[in-house]
């Protein structure tokens, strides 16, 4: 339906005659680099999404569509062939060939390049050009979510010639893609200016220019929107009060969008008493997430009942949350041998929302006799020390960017991923490992869903986490802006946005 409306809007627009306009976007931070092989952060991905294309496109409904790959066939369990769209040109006028695709994917997984997004292609064995416009990818073991991985911004297709010529300046001084917008200028920490690519293979690009302005404070992004200085403001939910004010402002359009991101508290299985399931379940019963969402997030979230967002392929949407029952929690603690509770710590990084969550949880666990010491750590220390297993309990989040349960579960719950790779609870369950491996290699989507549902049931029962909440992303636009459809993974496409 949304698609139809969009088409009507576009048609009306075309009939009315194109008018040139600049779209100014309040971004959450400056991009780090515009080379997909140098960074894997969200603010950079949001700009790169406009400049580059990927082989496969995952639309706003998380459906996979042809991108630079016009079609694809699975030759056997381990082999895929992608037919590259003909006639696509880079922003510098060079034609896109299979060699560029091979170069891009091989460079992304090259240990010497050490790209932060290399793990996206961790399953790939070889990438080679069959002919001028055909690329063959082989995998070490069957890998079912391959297409959603090839839609990730980290796999954006680059020009071999341009990247090689630019050397270390690629991504900051030189940026060339095939996407709807061309890179024009980057005033560091001030603005990134893009302009329309009239030759884009994907069709009409409506804005003549797009300007990304990094405005780190959520409050100021909301104010810029209220003052009419920007057309679109991203992630107002980082400052929930300001998001509320923007929503109440009749002169603005503010959307609340479910995302692929989930927040959780993890237990360290290498430490007592968290190796006892009764203790973990007791804590789950002792924690009430509703007041956290109301008080801290101003309602911009929903209670999580599974480790992955409802929108993710393979998500279990029928799991019952642990009900808030301090009495049951005390009983479980007594059964586990802690009738008077115990002392422990809860770690968080210096994120104001997480710190407040930790404080509420501290109070709630105090009710059942668990004395919690909240410790706030700087981000790099936090990542290093939780990877090393120095913690008791910790708060983290996860974004299942590919929209596939494999991405949201394998790194976090498979025992081969202990520590920095994602499993910071050090939980190991042979059945979960087996199911996750099956889900990753099985081609039949129905069977995959079955495996993932079972995994989530075991996780809910064994309780290596306290599920906290699923984040709602709040984005605002001026009333004269139309066609802005937020993407659940956060990198919103702007080519279809118009302004009256």
């Amino acid at each position: 339906m949304r698609r139809v409306l969009l088409l009507i809007a576009v048609a009306a627009f075309a009939l009315g005659g194109a008018h040139a306009f600049t779209l100014t976007v309040a971004a959450t931070s400056d991009a780090v680099s515009l080379s997909p092989h140098d960074t894997n952060d969200q603010p950079s991905a949001r700009v790169m999404r406009q400049i580059y294309d990927t082989l496969i496109v995952q639309n706003e409904e998380l459906e996979l569509e042809p991108g630079l790959a016009e079609s694809w066939t699975q030759i056997d369990d381990l082999t895929w062939e992608f037919a590259i769209r003909s006639g696509v040109v880079f922003h510098n006028g060079d034609p896109l060939t299979a060699a560029d695709v091979v170069f891009t994917l091989n460079s992304l997984r090259d240990p010497a390049v050490a790209a932060p997004g290399a793990f996206i292609l961790g399953f790939v064995d070889t990438v080679e050009a069959v002919d001028e416009l055909t690329v063959r990818v082989t995998t070490g073991t069957p890998f079912a979510p391959i297409l959603s991985h090839l839609a990730h911004t980290a796999t954006s297709i680059l020009s071999e010639q341009v990247v090689t010529d630019a050397g270390e300046d690629y991504g900051t001084e030189v940026v060339v893609g095939t996407g709807p917008f061309k890179f024009v200028e980057w005033e560091i920490a001030s603005q990134i200016i893009l302009e329309r690519n009239d030759d884009w293979w994907g069709g009409d690009v409506l804005p003549e220019r797009v300007i990304f302005r990094p405005i780190t404070e959520g409050t100021v992004r909301a104010i810029e929107l209220e003052a009419g200085a920007v057309d679109i403001a991203f992630e107002l939910n980082t400052s929930p009060r300001d998001a509320m004010r923007a929503i109440e402002n009749p002169n603005l359009i503010v959307t609340q969008q479910p995302t692929l991101s989930t927040a959780y508290v993890g237990f360290n299985f290498q430490k007592e008493p968290f190796d006892d399931v009764r203790v973990r379940q007791a804590i789950n019963h002792a924690v009430d997430v509703e007041p956290m969402i109301d008080a801290i997030l101003e309602g911009f979230g929903s209670v999580a009942t599974s480790p992955i967002s409802d929108m993710v392929f393979g998500a279990h949407t029928d799991l019952e949350p642990y009900d808030y029952d301090p009495e049951r929690a005390r009983q479980l603690l007594a059964e586990a041998g802690y009738p008077d509770g115990f002392s422990t710590s809860l770690w968080t990084n210096d994120n104001p929302i997480r710190i407040q969550i930790a404080e509420i949880m501290q109070a709630q666990l105090g009710e059942v006799g668990i004395d919690v010491d909240v410790q706030v750590l700087e981000w790099s220390t936090y990542l290093a020390d939780t990877a090393a297993g120095a913690h008791d309990m910790f708060i983290l989040g996860w974004v299942t960017v590919t929209g596939d349960a494999d991405y949201g579960l394998y790194a976090l719950f498979h025992s081969s991923n202990f520590g920095s790779a994602g499993n910071r609870t050090f939980w190991s369950n042979p059945r979960v490992d087996e199911l996750l491996d099956l889900g990753r290699t099985e081609a039949d989507p129905d069977l995959r869903v079955e495996y993932y549902l079972e995994v989530q049931e075991i996780i809910a029962e064994e309780a290596p986490w306290v599920f906290l909440y699923l984040t709602l992303e709040v984005n605002g636009t001026q009333p004269n802006v139309s066609g802005f459809v937020p993407h659940p993974a956060g990198h919103h496409r702007l080519y279809n946005v118009s302004k009256n």
């Binding site: 920490a189 001030s190 104010i223």
Partner: protein, 337 residues
Amino acid sequence: MFGWGRQRSAPPERTSPATGGRVGIEATLLKYIFRRIILLIPILFGVTIIVFGIMFLTPGDAAILMLGENAPQAELEALRERLGLNEPAYVQYGIWLGRVVQLDFGRSIRSGRPVTREVMARLPATIELALLATLLSIAIGVPLGVLSATRPNSAVDHVATVAAFGGLAMPVFWQGLVLILVFAVALGWLPPSGRLGGWQYYILPVITLGTSAIAAITRMTRATMLETLSQDYVRTARSKGVHPRSMIYRHALRNAMIPIVTVIGLQFGQLLSGAVITETIFSWPGIGRLAVDSIRSKDFPTVQGVVMVFALLYALVNLFTDVLYAYLDPRLKTRYS
């Protein structure tokens, strides 16, 4: 004795030494400046060692930050290898220093840009802001302080005192947001944030950054002026019938200037390096944000670059202040030899 000295130094034209002597003193002053600049080298060297030490004593590294929550061990190792983080700390420092001696400050670990480019892209924005804020604080702080001192305990003095303490006590982030809400949202006169060309973008950040400096300079001017106005030579001048304005500005203020200049110098240094909050609120592309971002991402070549620039600016402001003393109080010139 002290009063006599001060009195002698008050009118500059009378205390100026003969032409020959002036050349001699100018030469010694130049030599002094040169010596101070040479001294900067060991200072900068020491600063970089301390910064490097602190960064390496804290856990975590740039690789872990770039890969985030999902960092398979093999990829962490590959990235550390590429960034040279597997070398012992002293080797990394040595390699870095070896390049710096050849004026190559390396590339940012995070963005891959040359550090000089990262720093130079932001330095003008910070210097502009600090300079304008300092000028504003002098333009308001000095006259206000003089006014207070010449009318102690008057209504003007009380208002200035309350305003100054208010200015010192007001948190920058709060003041900045209130200014934005009033002038950008409610009145719509000025843009809320950014530095996109045009004087309008400067007004709110300069006021926000300058407020505490205005307060500090007002208080210091009032205190030293009160002291100076009670000196014998001021009374002498007054009794000789010197015009009150001339007495205040030519005789008293000039003599009170040394502590005021010291405060201005210190404030300017603070405004240069302490503008992080103002820069964050106003999305100002300054070096303060770069400092914080690079420290948080353990981007040590960038941190070193930023810290060296801060150290250099601080040292130069100090030097400038010291040289200014010599012009304000000629007796000090002889000490530079």
